[in-house]
Point group: C2
Chain length 620, copies 2
């Protein structure tokens, strides 16, 4: 259940003081194996629309579904036998329920989960102790194991030594070279305000921030104040991680199906737990709760799910120094940003998602990965026993293979640069040659603007040797100089999916076939893997929508960007992986008339906090 | 003049208490247009070797060369005429002396500089007020203008309104939405020590840090302490920015030559000025001086050229949360890093270079760009006057074109992973197909290790759709599991040079033909564009060396990585550009037996500083 958003134009037209727009709920219900899509007017309490989905896929899994599947699996008699064959009882196991993907007709007509079990003996980090080759396919609605497969009885359960990652106060040895306490301090408090629990105002920015059970959190109505005029100018209507795709590169019976679409299957918000103060977010962070809905429709609170903080990381926002005849110029301005953060733990993996706002108009979106590898047990305990690289990943501990996998996170970015109607422009850097005689040079790069007329023009595979900038501009809003107002999406590190387009996981996650797409705004096209993602067949993806090849010039458009990671594990990822992060940016391009932070003031010593060590730290 | 480094093996063999190795100086002298390469034993004061360079190129330019060229240009009679034609006198001008590149035989046998002039009337930011089309070619040694070209008398000098970037205390208007004071605080002081002015020890790291007139700074003898054994383990012998390449994409008479190689031409250290406290570096920074040599051989001090500080940016080093039947697990560890930083102002542009050390063994190297665009004046003051995109960049202010250009920074990384002899291994992610019948999957990625035998195997053009990891491993040092100890270079955002390989600028900077190269260690191969870079013909580049195709397996190897930026300017870059940064990483891969920060302690409130607002801030 979620809000049934009012029509975008009505939202944009609404002003403070106007009567509230009708409040409606959107409910996805499951009844007799059918997905019901229902909108309800909350004022009248009446059903407004009711549709039964005719496409593939089921609603997001609930905690109850997961619990039911695990319950069915652990009470299945074969499990006791398999556990005993490995010297364990079922009570020693911790079982999890990954989604099954979708691999063909025999999986239709029922909701399935795969259940995998691990030994929890001696460690809270059971993920490092798989019962390899054991996989139970559970019919979630019938609460029944419909397939039991155990091909791994000869494979030992990895030992699990040194896998406990918890801090044990008083018992853990002192650190080898402890770092003196360091902290981001802001004793006058934060410079942002949060109104009505969701409207954030900071420096030149204003936006709405809302926890969402599926997306994690949604940033909307992003507005920046013009540095010259003070005018509030629209940048984005709505942005959020629309879908994930995490295919594992192992085709064994117990592995082939691992191709998660975590937002639509489990929910990035549903799996987000309270952030850990001082360690997930700094001391000056403000925390916000999520209000979610349980399977029976009752609301519940996910506390401290989002944190919001100002960051000063010691960098400069601009600088120049120069020694001239008359003077020494040394000018620099410290960079302070605002970060909105949440962290989802989708089973073993942790995804931390940041939206970072800079005073120069740039928005940086970062996805950081940590948590536990999904590992495979092997009979081998040394690489010298492994011939022909036949394992599907490197050995990361005795009997433990870190299976190679990818992560893709696709963002829905409904850009409204100075208004809804925008145009996507590729600025290609084209090599000009054949300059004979005119110049001693033989080549140079020329920026050539290419306006995307239809969706096809806006499908982009990034290439180092065919570089472009990717602008979303408002052709009706020209600067003093005649440049269209714009924002560009700036890729940084990235990875592409290389799977066959006909491979079922890739077909379902075909939104990763390109890194960039632009579609015309369509209220129903929010979720890149389809509204009903779980066990979907790939009939409602961004790729399908884009192939309608609609016109997108000077229209209300949505930009989609996919951030990818290839992960070849290594020993350092065991038993918990150091954070790996990648980012992309949304950056003003001829949006402001000039550098909007030209007039920022430098930092002076006299304004900075006065600090002393804590008594505890002094005593150390 | 610089240190003539002792033989690497003698350095590695030296231990504290041993007699010092012989101290020698390496002098590059210019006499009668010839470059003399001289080594001098400092103990005996005797010349040890003396060679006259037979290759192309001249030594790095000195401040005296630059001053001489500008002096010759401003006293050239034609300049007064050109200035007068624009309503100015020579006293109103500020002239700079970019390097001329090298474009053929007629430029041989003399040292040249191009002198360009700007109006400094009304602004310290003269870069925004070019006398377009005016270029003087100066013979530096004869102190004589040998070519005077003024093709731009009809082009107005841009007005320069709002280009002053200085802070004027008391006169500048208050900021629109000031941010409450925020600071990185560490009242017990830093956790690092600096011994003998250059040996840095922090957490598990130990390295030498030295200012260098050409490279900016050099990081050497990088050692990390093993998290299990406490052993000191070598990671890198020496790392530094070896050369830059900054080609402009305009082939006009006054522009074609702009293809700077800033390290070898002007020196990244020679152009580094004192960092601005609290704005370039945070309050807890420690500053280090550079000791350089002037043209006459006398030493001088470049104060506060390097800063070193611990950073806490509010991020976590690892995290996992989980709700299990028995307990709620919420574990996260705050990330604190050590940053070494310098900033060079090579004329208009500012390059800030960071080496950031993480406790998990990762080294992140970042180049940040700020400062002023090199702009071109135009008769147009609105984009609607410009047809067919005929300008060489976007209009960024009235009559000002921001010419498109690239920046490449090539790092010399003499990796010594657990010792000098290392092997470069590409771990290619190869798509496996044709799995019919064996699995419901149709494809997966398999990591395939490819050992580079010779230099040719190690020339890498990055490609999103042909992904690899790039490992430097020590084949003789295996982990408990049999994996070779290694570090990988991890690219992030990057850009490639697309110029013709035969274009003179590209020929001279052929080290940018690939993003990664590996060469066998050779004491004389330090500077990717050649030892004598200024006016070089490209006969002594990394590309030339690599094409000897030497063996590199299990040898002492040097890794070269090039970080690139395409810069299509925009209005926001005027009159000073907000910082743009890109990074790459050196990351342990099976170097540690497990996550080396598994046992890091969390941060507790009781240990953090106690802070109050300053009196100045409270009064605001």
């Amino acid at each position: 259940m979620t809000i049934d958003e009012p029509d975008k134009l009505r939202v944009l037209g609404w002003q403070s003081g106007d009567p509230l727009l009708p409040r409606k709920a959107f409910v996805i219900g499951l009844l007799d194996n059918q997905s019901h899509l229902v909108t309800i007017d909350l004022e009248s309490g009446r059903v407004e629309t009711h549709e039964i989905s005719s496409g593939s896929g089921y609603p997001m899994l609930t905690m109850e579904d997961v619990a039911a599947a695990v319950d069915a699996a652990v009470s299945y008699p074969g499990l006791e036998v398999s556990a005993a064959a490995r010297g364990l009882s079922v009570a020693n196991l911790s079982c999890i329920s990954p989604s099954p993907g979708w691999f063909g007709p025999e999986e239709e007509g029922k909701r399935l989960l795969k259940v995998l079990c691990y030994s929890k003996q001696g460690t809270p980090n059971f993920y490092m102790r798989p019962l390899e080759g054991l996989v139970m396919t559970v019919d979630v609605d019938r609460r029944e194991v419909i397939k039991f497969s155990d091909t791994g009885r000869g494979i030992p359960i990895p030992g699990g030594a040194n896998t406990d990652y918890r801090f044990h106060p008083g018992n853990d040895p002192p650190e080898m070279n402890p770092i003196n306490p360091i902290s981001m301090e802001q004793p006058q408090g934060p410079s942002f305000t949060v109104t009505d629990g969701h409207l954030v105002e900071w420096a030149n920015w204003e936006f709405h921030l809302k926890a969402d059970q599926r997306a994690g959190f949604i940033v909307s109505r992003v507005v920046v104040r013009d540095s010259e005029t003070g005018d509030r100018r629209s940048v984005m209507y709505k942005g959020f991680p629309s879908e994930l795709f995490v295919p594992y590169m192992d085709v064994d019976e117990a592995w082939y199906f691992k191709s998660y679409m975590d937002a639509g299957e489990f929910g990035m918000g549903a799996t987000a737990m309270p952030l850990v103060p001082l360690n997930d977010c700094p001391r000056n962070a403000h925390y916000m709760d999520g209000v979610f809905v349980s399977a029976d429709g009752r609301p519940f609170i996910q506390p401290n799910m989002i944190c919001l903080f100002e960051r000063y990381a010691g960098d400069s926002a601009w600088r120049h120094t120069e020694l001239t005849v008359s003077a020494e110029l040394r000018e620099a301005r410290a960079k302070v940003t605002l970060v909105a953060r949440m962290a989802s733990s989708v089973g073993n993996y942790d995804y931390t998602i940041d939206w970072e706002f800079q005073t120069d108009g740039l928005i940086k979106i970062t996805v950081a990965l940590s948590g536990m590898l999904m590992v495979k047990a092997t009979v081998h305990d040394n690489m010298n026993q492994i011939e022909n690289q036949e394992e599907t990943g490197p050995m990361v501990s005795e009997n433990v293979i870190g299976v190679v996998h990818d992560h893709f996170i696709t963002f829905h970015l409904d850009m409204d640069v100075d208004g809804p109607n925008n145009t996507f422009v590729k600025v290609n850097l084209v090599k000009e040659e054949n300059l004979e005689g005119k110049t001693p040079r033989k080549s140079y790069l020329k920026p050539v603007r290419h306006v995307a007329k239809t969706e096809e023009d806006a499908r982009v595979k990034l290439s180092l040797y065919n570089p472009s900038e990717f602008h979303v501009v408002n052709p009706s809003r020209r600067s003093r100089l005649g440049n269209p107002s714009g924002y560009k999406v700036v890729p940084e590190a990235n990875a592409a999916s290389l799977l066959d387009h006909s491979d079922p996981p890739q077909l379902r996650s075909a939104f990763t076939n390109n890194q960039i797409w632009v579609t015309p705004y369509n209220r129903s096209e929010q979720w890149a893997g389809g509204l009903l993602t779980y066990q979907s067949h790939g009939d409602d993806t961004l790729d399908v929508w884009s192939h309608r090849n609609r016109e997108i010039e000077d229209k209300d458009v949505v930009l989609w960007y996919t951030l990818g990671f290839h992960h070849v594990p290594c020993q350092e990822d065991f038993p918990i992986m150091p954070t790996v992060a990648a980012s992309f940016q949304l950056k003003p391009v001829n949006f402001f008339d000039r550098n909007p932070i030209l007039r920022a003031h430098p930092v002076f010593e006299k304004d900075l906090p006065v600090c002393r060590p804590s008594e505890s730290a002094s005593a150390m």
